[in-house]
């Protein structure tokens, strides 16, 4: 009851803008072709946490995976030393250098290879300019920012010109702080389509943050590298965007299922199959929704908090490219932008973790010769973080009846 009381004002606040502005003519529908098992997403008295067993199983798989990743990450320094100096100490020459760089890549440490640096520079250039391509694409399709937000014919021309002006600023790298303010302002304007649209477009803000923190004389300099602070903000905003999108997939499960009904190929993904393993095939679509969503939650969380950013960023790159080329085709061409943003992070040598303090505690315990405390600290932190990250909202959502959404 308390939880409901707590959630109610949050839900009311979140829905307020939708009721303030009524514009259902422009809402994009994802055509659900077959009914879902509505009870799957609700409360199940007598079950652990009152959750549907398959949902609980997928959640547990995601939670364990997160615990494992966190545990390994907090010991990454020690593992690196162990592998390089104990296991592979006989290696010499190119093989030794290759494994060293590979280990650095996987553990988010600087990769000092010239070609890696060059790709990183190119990724930053693409990241800063690709939004202009997306804006131009949207303008030619009578939409705003993304084809999901079609423009009213009566005002389309003005919004299209504004997008063109913004695209010119981006392409010529002129007055980037102004471009950043316009990106953030446009994102706020997306409240016009409702809070779901705003959540959907959070990744758009990522580039806005970089623009805002660029100099006014941006047209005079070649921006090929992001500062440590900018990388941090890109990671936080992009990661949070995907974390939110992941949760929205479960919250608004009809819409997610609607996409799958129209593009059945998206259901055949090895990573999602992994999350959904051992579940009841009678709830195939429901399991897919939760597995897909939690895969995205995990990716977003890892990127946001800086846990194996490159590994998860690489997985995200793979998924985006697959969605753009294999599953959705030309309709998803705006995915160039999140691909560029993710690539800018993956190929950055300035990655940091928001949980670095746990690593420090662990290392301090190691210096003091307290091995049990090291393992206990890391294990405790990993379990708490993973359980909170996966189960808090998954559990809370079962209290909210979304069958009529």
């Amino acid at each position: 009851m308390r939880l409901r009381l707590l959630l109610l004002p949050v839900a009311v606040l979140a829905l307020l803008p939708v009721t303030v502005v009524y514009a259902h003519e422009r809402f994009i529908r994802h055509d659900l072709k077959y009914p879902l098992h509505e009870e799957y997403f609700g409360r199940h008295p007598g079950m652990f946490l009152g959750m549907q067993p398959d949902m609980l199983r997928i959640g547990t798989t995601a939670c364990i995976l997160l615990i494992v990743f966190l545990f390994i990450f907090f010991f990454r320094q020690n593992l690196d030393v162990f592998i390089e100096h104990r296991l592979l100490f006989r290696l010499r020459g190119p093989a030794q250098r290759f494994l060293h760089q590979l280990a650095n890549y996987l553990t988010d440490k600087p990769v000092t290879l010239p070609w890696f640096h060059t790709i990183g520079e190119w990724a930053v250039v693409l990241f800063l300019r690709s939004p202009a391509l997306v804006l131009m694409y949207s303008a030619t399709n009578d939409s705003l920012v993304m084809p999901s937000y079609p423009l009213e014919p009566t005002s389309a021309i003005y919004f299209k010109y504004i997008q063109v002006v913004l695209a010119i600023l981006m392409l010529t790298q002129t007055a980037l702080p102004l471009a950043g303010a316009m990106v953030v302002g446009t994102w706020i304007y997306l409240w016009r389509w409702g809070w779901l649209a705003v959540a959907d477009a959070i990744p758009v803000v990522t580039v806005g943050v970089v623009y805002l923190t660029s100099p006014w004389q941006s047209h005079r300099i070649a921006i090929t590298e992001l500062s440590e602070q900018q990388v941090k903000w890109v990671r936080l905003v992009l990661g949070f965007g995907f974390l939110a999108l992941g949760w929205l997939k479960i919250y608004n499960y009809h819409l997610t299922a609607g996409v799958a009904d129209n593009y059945p190929a998206v259901m055949d993904d090895p990573m999602i199959h992994f999350f959904a393993m051992g579940t009841n095939p009678a709830f195939r679509r429901e399991n897919w929704i939760v597995a897909f969503a939690l895969a995205e939650v995990l990716s977003g969380f890892m990127v946001m908090m800086g846990i194996f950013t490159r590994v998860w960023g690489s997985l995200m790159l793979w998924v985006f490219i697959k969605l753009m080329i294999v599953n959705f085709g030309w309709d998803e061409i705006p995915h160039i932008y999140p691909i560029a943003a993710t690539a800018a992070i993956v190929f950055s040598n300035k990655l940091r973790s928001e949980f670095s303090f746990i690593e420090k505690i662990q290392q301090k315990a190691a210096r003091e010769g307290r091995p049990f405390l090291r393992v206990a600290t890391v294990a405790f932190a990993s379990v708490i973080i993973a359980v909170l990250a996966v189960f808090t909202l998954l559990y809370a959502f079962t209290f909210i009846d979304r069958s009529h959404f």
């Binding site: 809402f27 014919p153 009566t154 303010a181 302002g185 706020i188 660029s214 100099p215 004389q217 009529h404």
Partner: protein
């Protein structure tokens, strides 16, 4: 290098927001006022949102189409005020905020009003109402007459598929719908509406389209208000 200050960022963002919202408000008034129009007027009303109603010629045709429909007080119907004449509309460069507009119809006799007849009359004249928004009735049900309800499966399919239909309305369609009951003998489907707050509306086109989606074409759709419902209950007793 000179960077933007926090003050500059906030001001520029606020200006962008204001520009976009202002532009939208000025150029798309129909999206901002679609609800407030009906909220301002008391009484039982049917507000037709016509996706095409651009000039006085259109309005005249709509009025003509509805002239024979019983239950509507066409004399007191109010249409958009800023419509162009046909001659003005023919001029190159003539423009309106939108091609679509609303027509508000006071309902003089709720019992006589058949919403399928309204829809058919408009279609026969070459129009389609994008929305038919009912307001001013707090408790009511919509009763659709379905000629084809031949077996128990027909009955069950409607009852069972309505939940799916509500779920399918990801844009919030049919949120007003509380439950559905089927009367096999009378061949009617009743859509029981939730309490309709004063000033709020229910789009009956959602229910009509829903029945079509389920594979049924109603031959009539009537609004049974609270008073009528109580009357029917007493008769039954």
């Amino acid at each position: 290098m000179k960077f933007a200050s926090m003050k500059q960022i906030i001001v520029l963002t606020a200006i962008t927001c204001a520009l976009l919202f202002g532009l939208d408000y000025y150029k798309n008034p129909q999206l901002w006022h679609s609800r407030s129009v009906s909220m301002a007027r008391p009484g039982v009303r049917l507000t037709l949102w016509m996706n095409h109603l651009c000039c006085l010629g259109c309005l005249a045709d709509v009025r003509q189409a509805l002239a024979e429909v019983p239950g509507i007080d066409l004399a007191n119907a109010s249409g958009p005020k800023q419509l162009l004449t046909q001659a003005e509309a023919n001029m190159q460069g003539a423009s309106l905020p939108d091609y679509g507009n609303t027509v508000e119809l006071p309902i003089s006799d709720l019992e006589k009003l058949d919403l399928v007849a309204v829809d058919k009359a408009l279609r026969d004249k070459g129009f389609v109402a994008g929305r038919m928004e009912l307001s001013g009735v707090e408790h009511f049900r919509l009763e659709a007459l379905l000629e084809h309800l031949c077996c128990g499966m027909c009955d069950r399919s409607i009852q069972e598929r309505v939940a799916f239909l509500k779920a399918k309305g990801s844009a919030g369609q049919l949120k007003w719908l509380d439950s559905v009951s089927v009367d096999h003998q009378k061949k009617t489907v009743a859509a029981h509406a939730r309490f309709l707050e004063p000033g709020k509306t229910v789009d009956v086109v959602e229910f009509l389209s829903g029945l079509n989606y389920l594979g049924y074409e109603p031959s009539s759709l009537r609004i049974i208000s609270e008073e009528k419902m109580q009357h029917t209950t007493h008769e039954g007793e």
